[in-house]
């Protein structure tokens, strides 16, 4: 269940550009593969929810995780996307799976 965000301060704000982490979780998680490594924009902060990665193993699910709605452009997701240029995909992602897009871009340019 969602909780008021009194105890947890969200790391990201609405409008922030983020990258969904591209890593393989050892066990249950709720981040679909097709969005890993992709960039999007925070469009909503849903609140704090018990951590599904702990709940899946019969743990109480604490600490709670902030859940965001992240909007990704379909043309960023799929190279061959057939559809309008403004088509989007919204997906709910927990904070540990998100990184700031700028920081990720810097790491990406390390070789230059």
């Amino acid at each position: 269940m969602s909780a008021a965000l009194t105890r947890i301060t969200p790391e990201f704000s609405v409008g922030d550009r983020v990258v969904i982490r591209n890593c393989a979780a050892l066990g249950h998680c709720r981040t679909p593969w097709y969005v890993r490594g992709k960039s999007g924009t925070i469009v909503e902060i849903h609140g704090a929810f018990r951590d599904p990665e702990r709940l899946a193993y019969h743990r109480p699910g604490f600490p709670e995780r902030v859940l965001y709605k992240v909007r990704l452009r379909q043309h960023d997701l799929w190279a061959e996307y057939q559809g309008g240029k403004d088509d989007n995909l919204d997906v709910d992602i927990y904070e540990p799976w998100l990184g700031a897009a700028a920081a990720a871009a810097k790491t990406g340019r390390k070789g230059r």
């Binding site: 269940m1 709720r30 849903h46 995909l89």
Partner: protein, 225 residues
């Protein structure tokens, strides 16, 4: 469970393709592993006093009482009552509670509004999360691998297969319901329905309209209802 003392060897001369061939009782064969698991868990919960048989039966009744008609009532109310619509969009739980609809404690609900610019469609690629407390049991296709995988990759092709072709000027927005929120689409109210009652409106709000694979349609003969 009822017991039968007559013999179950149905001697008959029907071909197997015959529609009048006797059907097997659903519990005639050996129980599947899931049935055994469910039975064991249910009996344990009752024996240890966690739940009573009555509570389990009541919960089944509650789930059976939910159907797309309930969601349609909510959408029709939102179309006719601006204050209710505003509350439904901002605080879905309280708005539903005001219609005596309890969505339970397992997930939060969100209502996403279609506009002339944006068409929303809902999918759950990870499993098949669905707003059961508002729409009842999901259709089989919603849980199919094809719907779950293709809706995120080629939503317009999937919508076209449902008979819904949208111009590229309309943004198609797919919602992958991956976490603790359940989504229901608030479709646009069709033109020419200004004088309709909530009940008449609810009749054109189908399950698919609330998933986002259809939009409400006013047919010529329906308009005369």
């Amino acid at each position: 469970m009822m017991t039968h003392d007559h013999d179950h060897d149905h001697d008959h001369d029907h071909d197997h393709g015959d529609p009048h061939a006797p059907r097997k009782d659903h519990d005639a064969g050996p129980a599947s592993p899931y049935e055994v698991l469910e039975r064991a868990l249910r009996e344990l919960l009752i024996e240890t006093g966690v739940l009573t048989a009555r509570e389990i039966a009541d919960q089944i009744d509650l789930m059976d009482s939910r159907s797309p008609a309930l969601g349609a009532k909510v959408i029709a109310r939102a179309w006719t009552t601006p204050a209710f619509k505003a509350q439904l969009l901002s605080d879905t739980r309280s708005a539903l509670a005001s219609m005596s609809i309890d969505i339970g404690g397992l997930a939060e609900f969100r209502v996403i509004e279609n506009t002339q610019q944006v068409h929303n469609v809902v999918v759950c690629t990870l499993c098949s999360c669905y707003p059961k407390m508002l729409l009842g049991v999901p259709p089989a296709w919603y849980k199919s691998l094809a719907y779950r995988s293709r809706t995120v990759v080629a939503p317009r092709a999937v919508l076209a297969e449902f008979g819904l072709e949208l111009p590229h000027s309309v943004e198609v927005r797919v919602h992958d319901s991956t976490a603790d929120l359940r989504y229901i689409v608030l479709p646009e109210r069709p033109m020419g329905t200004d004088a309709w009652s909530e009940q008449q409106l609810a009749a054109i709000i189908t399950r698919d309209c609330m998933i986002g694979t259809a939009v409400p349609v006013v047919s010529a003969n329906r308009a005369a209802v």
